[in-house]
């Protein structure tokens, strides 16, 4: 019999719809796979077997009753632990939320349930999505299925690793500075950051509100588009949500799969093809650019002069917002509470709780952000960073007057060994060098596997104008059709 875990979401949905496999069978196969390999990968923080099987049974019953099923009904999905799930533990990779079971579903999870997808469980992540390797999870690192001594990227390393390890065909991530795309690149999977406001943040535990964007992760571009279609669209509970329909990402992925990019003009970002990236990464990227040209795309070089200020601007804006967003974790209403022995004051309990509950990277960013927002420093730091943000947005808008989409390597380097960059925060921050500008601008971007460097996956990033998410799916699908998929060695 076919190994169901090797199939893509679109094929699994077809089997369920045709009655060739039940949703329960599909779900069991994935739960078994998790049972078999996750002690080596550690993609999951919580596996909700009972909930998954119940959801699968409900799909099977609906099918038996003759109800029409959605395009992803019966397909398992792994959800990054940053999204609230009613009654199911949600930790954000932090000790401070250990054991918390939210009383409500995030909009994304609500839509996943309504679409008949089957939530397998919650995936590992850097604490509060702050990190690029998943090593900052309070519950231990996730390992890259391509080489379990290496990192799977971050912060959404759990979701990407679950895909690469065939533990799930679909996953949800969140991208604040690259947390969907960078793990996608280093695990040989597809990760898409939708337009900011194109996917709801309601129920996404905030890191940096003006940057956080939930989005789809999959092993193929079409699967990612199908998932994007299910989770995207306006949500009245998120006032930054864009009141417009999801661009036709599925149609665009199908169009791109035909392998024809005639009439599409792509700009290679000059600033991201210099010395910042490893030679192996650059080699794979250049080969892919040639492949895109062969598919009919016109390739030009585009300079985005302010992109080099993106990283410092990001490391002021994101910590500033996080210093405020994370203030609510005080032990008063939910989660961890430390030192409440009847002798300590409320302030002491709050303080001890935060001291014990947050890890070093989270504390570092809270301190940077608190400082940057302080009276007397605000203009020099937060204010200045916002100006840089405006300049970066101008770089994008002027580039998109010349080209349909921008392309670059997704990351400067392939998956690095666990522990290699934890000693120096700056070395870790460089992992997001190429992904951060898009977050500051708010447009969509996707990472698609484009080759290997020393046997490890390399990703190509496609950046599109806001609300032109369909455009990046077309280019990504075309490249995928040309270079093919990359399969990791057996675990």
């Amino acid at each position: 019999m076919t190994d169901l875990t090797r199939l893509n979401a679109v094929d699994l949905a077809g089997l369920v719809a045709n009655g060739d496999a039940s949703a329960v069978e599909v779900t069991r196969a994935h739960l078994d796979r998790i049972g078999a390999v996750d002690d080596r990968v550690h993609a999951f923080l919580h596996v909700d077997s009972d909930g998954a099987l119940a959801a699968a049974r409900a799909v099977d019953e609906r099918r038996a009753a003759g109800e029409e099923l959605g395009p992803l009904a019966g397909v398992p999905v792994a959800v990054k632990d940053v999204l609230t799930t009613k009654g199911v533990p949600t930790t954000v990779g932090s000790k401070i939320l250990e054991g918390w079971r939210p009383p409500y579903d995030s909009t994304i999870v609500e839509r996943l349930r309504a679409a008949g997808t089957v939530m397998l469980g919650k995936t590992n992540m850097d604490e509060f999505a702050m990190g690029s390797s998943t090593e900052y999870s309070a519950y231990g690192p996730t390992r890259n299925p391509w080489d379990t001594d290496r990192i799977p990227g971050g912060s959404g390393g759990g979701s990407a690793a679950a895909l690469a390890a065939y533990e799930a065909p679909l996953a949800i991530g969140s991208d604040t500075g690259g947390s969907i795309r960078q793990p996608g690149a280093v695990t040989g999977t597809v990760g898409a950051k939708p337009t900011y406001g194109g996917t709801s943040r309601y129920g996404l535990v905030a890191f940096s509100s003006s940057l956080d964007t939930p989005g789809p992760c999959a092993r193929t571009v079409l699967d990612a588009a199908l998932l994007h279609q299910v989770i995207g669209g306006h949500d009245p509970r998120d006032s930054t949500s864009i009141p417009a329909p999801v661009p036709d990402v599925v149609g665009a992925a199908k169009l791109g799969a035909s392998g024809d990019l005639t009439g599409v003009k792509l700009g290679v970002v000059t600033e991201f093809t210099g010395e910042g990236a490893e030679p192996g990464v650059m080699a794979a990227f250049r080969e892919s650019v040639e492949a895109l040209a062969k598919l009919g795309a016109e390739i030009v070089e585009i300079s985005c002069p302010h992109f080099r200020y993106a990283l410092p601007a990001y490391y002021l804006i994101a910590p500033s917002e996080c210093s405020s967003n994370l203030a609510r974790f005080d032990g008063v209403r939910f989660g961890l509470r430390v030192g409440d022995d009847g002798n300590r004051s409320l302030e002491e309990v709050m303080s001890l709780t935060r001291e014990a509950g947050f890890g070093p990277e989270v504390k570092r960013r809270i301190m940077i952000g608190t400082y940057a927002l302080s009276s007397g420093y605000y203009d020099a730091y937060y204010g200045q960073a916002q100006k840089v943000r405006t300049l970066i947005t101008r770089d994008f808008t002027s580039a998109f007057e010349q080209v349909d989409a921008l392309i670059s390597p997704t990351t400067p380097f392939v998956a690095f060994p666990i522990g290699a960059r934890t000693a120096d925060p700056y070395q870790m921050y460089l992992a997001d060098l190429f992904t951060i500008p898009t977050n500051l601008y708010g447009g969509p971007a996707i990472s698609v596997p484009c080759g290997l460097s020393d046997g490890l996956p390399v990703g190509l990033q496609i950046m599109a104008p806001t609300m032109a998410d369909d455009r990046m799916y077309r280019v990504a699908a075309a490249l995928e059709s040309s270079v093919g998929a990359f399969t990791p060695p057996a675990l």
Partner: protein, 498 residues
């Protein structure tokens, strides 16, 4: 403080006060500022809450349009400019009754700014500048149990009720008000009273100081004539109009005594005490909390449509001060009479009574006379006395029709206040109608004449003034239900003295 305070007259002779007021008004919207939870007062603790107003991880605010509209209307009524584009901002500080440990407020981009409110004090108009009107969210309420002071320090347990968390709150800040001299306390009070009336007339809040839906902080400083303004203090917990006046006065006296002794005023928050009428030191603002304001990234900027704002402006109700002026003219009242109507809180009541058919004079007589007296005795607001304008108009109608005399009408009104029914119902039920049947009256008159022959003789001999004694006797036997004038005429007629 044991030092003797200087006399108020001396203080205002030596120093010039500058005052300023920050007023918080809880809006009467059906739902909270960022979520759909109900806002009504009361309710078991923590029953009107949801992930949003509890600040649970992942929750997001969505602005309440009704609250924005109410704030713009307040701003327009206070002659403010309305921002074409502005943002909410986060005010960051830790406190257990603040679910997110930041308050969503507005900082350097208030929704309404640069207005004024004209206030009448002793017949003179004083223009109070309005710095800004902005929208924010209320906090929950903390109850500190086990400590001596009810404050957080020394408490053994702290209980928090989040029902109030997220209720829309409008903050109205005046510009500094210099040059008020000895009138500073009165002007402060008059401003808050006028502001309350304006907001009540807009119907956007019930503005009850005793329930906390209108809360006031009073800033006060003193300076020597011609010198720079002094350091100000901010007095909180000022919960009635009378307290506003007392708080300013008491703070002026305290500051003068400090300055007289060569001391300096510390910029701080002070708490007003209703019982003693003085203020005590709260937290010092010299090492002020840095609130680290920044634009709220979870909310899109506010850009009120100018056509909508113009519509709101056109639809504003007549403002209380102008309305009072018009009413005073319509009713033909002197300034003093009008003042007593306003002070009694009777403007709307009299207006409604007149609308129900009574003359302004009669309506005013009932509300300012009998009903005000009862309200004062029982300590309730005139509006809550139990008699409605319609009932008062009906009562006056019965008097005008000759069915009740003044004394009987008062008895009927007692019944109305006691909830016995409408004036007509009470009159009938208690058999209080004026006896107008001449047959029965004649019998009572004859009886009185027969019982007082000496007086009757006097009247017969032309001393008509003596008739008063017989009128009294008849009124007694008819239990006051006769018309005294009719009785008198009847007596004179029977005795041939007419």
């Amino acid at each position: 403080m044991t030092t003797t305070l200087p006399a108020y007259d001396e203080v205002v002779a030596r120093y010039e006060p500058v005052i300023g007021l920050e007023t918080h008004v809880e809006l009467g919207t059906n739902t909270k500022m960022w979520c759909g939870c109900p806002t009504d007062f009361g309710g078991e603790p923590n029953t009107r809450v949801c992930p949003v107003c509890l600040g649970l991880p992942g929750s997001l605010p969505v602005a309440n349009k009704a609250a924005i509209e109410a704030t713009i209307r307040i701003g327009l009524a206070l002659n403010c400019s309305i921002a074409e584009w502005c943002r909410f901002a986060r005010k960051n500080y830790f406190y257990p009754d603040m679910p997110k440990n930041f308050q969503i407020s507005q900082y350097d981009e208030p929704l309404c700014f640069d207005g004024h409110l004209d206030v009448e004090v002793n017949g003179e108009l004083v223009r109070i500048g309005i710095e800004r009107v902005h929208l924010e969210e209320d906090t929950g309420k903390t109850l500190h149990v086990g400590g001596a002071t009810g404050r957080i320090h020394g408490a053994t347990e702290s209980l928090v009720d989040y029902n109030r968390a997220g209720i829309p709150l409008v903050e109205i800040v005046t510009k500094p008000i210099p040059g008020t001299g000895a009138l500073a306390p009165e002007i402060a009070r008059a401003y808050v009273a006028e502001l309350r009336d304006v907001i009540r007339s807009l119907g956007v809040s019930d503005v009850r100081m005793e329930e906390g839906s209108l809360r006031c902080d009073v800033n006060t400083s003193l300076n020597l004539p011609g010198a720079e303004w002094g350091t100000r203090t901010e007095t909180k917990n000022v919960n009635s109009l009378r307290s506003v006046e007392r708080a300013v006065r008491s703070e002026m006296l305290r500051q003068a005594s400090v300055l007289d002794a060569g001391g300096r005023i510390v910029q701080e928050t002070r708490h007003f005490h209703e019982d003693t009428g003085d203020t005590t030191s709260g937290r010092s603002k010299e090492t002020a909390t840095d609130y680290r304001y920044f634009p709220e990234p979870d909310l899109v900027p506010l850009a009120p449509d100018t056509a909508w704002v113009a519509e709101l402006k056109a639809a504003l109700p007549e403002l209380p001060r102008l309305r009072r002026k018009r009413i005073q003219q319509d009713w033909g009242l002197s300034d003093l009479d009008m003042q007593s109507v306003v002070n009694a809180g009777a403007v709307e009541l009299i207006e409604a009574t007149v609308a129900a058919g009574a003359t302004p004079a009669a309506a005013r007589k009932w509300w300012l006379g009998e009903l005000s007296r009862r309200a004062n005795e029982t300590g309730v607001e005139l509006a809550d006395i139990g008699a409605t304008p319609a009932q008062v108009a009906e009562l006056q109608g019965l008097v005008d029709a000759g069915k009740l005399n003044d004394k009987l009408a008062r008895t009927v009104l007692e019944g109305v206040v006691a909830g016995e029914g409408s004036p007509t119902e009470i009159m009938t039920a208690r058999n209080l109608e004026v006896v107008s049947d001449t047959g029965a009256l004649t019998a009572a008159v004859d009886e009185a004449i027969a019982a007082n022959p000496a007086i009757a003789d006097k009247i017969r001999s032309g001393k008509v003034a003596a008739a008063g004694a017989l009128v009294g006797a008849v009124m007694k036997t008819t239990r006051g239900q006769a018309d005294a004038k009719t009785v008198r005429e009847l007596i004179l007629e029977r005795l041939g003295a007419a």
